[in-house]
Symmetry: C2
């Protein structure tokens, strides 16, 4: 959400802030990658997920969610599709 | 991609164009909903998908993808996660 707000203003940002936004996304990606790996190690997440691809996909989906819900003036929580992401990455035999 | 570019400039747009961007998303959502329904009717897509939720999720994910890849200056095609979306909605018994 915060990075969504930042990213939304990207076009209007000076170069230094564009680099910051990129760093910000990188931080999110690194966090996602570490935690998906942890989840796999603990047997909570599907072991066959590609950590890099899935992390980027989650970032995309949540960035897009904050963005679209803002354009549509509706509820981010209800429209983020986070349940669908979870359903896609959790091990089903729980 | 086009609507991503539009949406990215949303903050800077006058009210009339904000409404257009919203309409633009609505057109995408309607198209997605119709085609997911068709895909279900033809037995290509999973029959238990919630059409509204999944359509919004696809829009979110692809908007986010165009947005994040632009901020990261990398390749939209390679990072959109479209394969993951397909894997999530196609009937597996194919």
């Amino acid at each position: 959400p915060l990075c969504g707000a930042l990213a939304a203003e990207l076009l209007a940002l000076p170069e230094s802030l564009k680099a910051m936004t990129k760093d910000f996304f990188e931080i999110h990606l690194t966090w996602l990658q570490e935690n998906i790996k942890k989840g796999q190690d603990q047997g909570v997440l599907k072991p066959d997920l590609d950590v890099i691809t899935v992390s980027r996909f989650i970032l995309n989906a949540l960035e897009g969610a904050s963005f679209v819900s803002w354009a549509m003036s509706d509820d981010y929580e209800k429209s983020s599709g986070f349940d669908l992401i979870l359903a896609g990455i959790l091990r089903s035999e729980a």
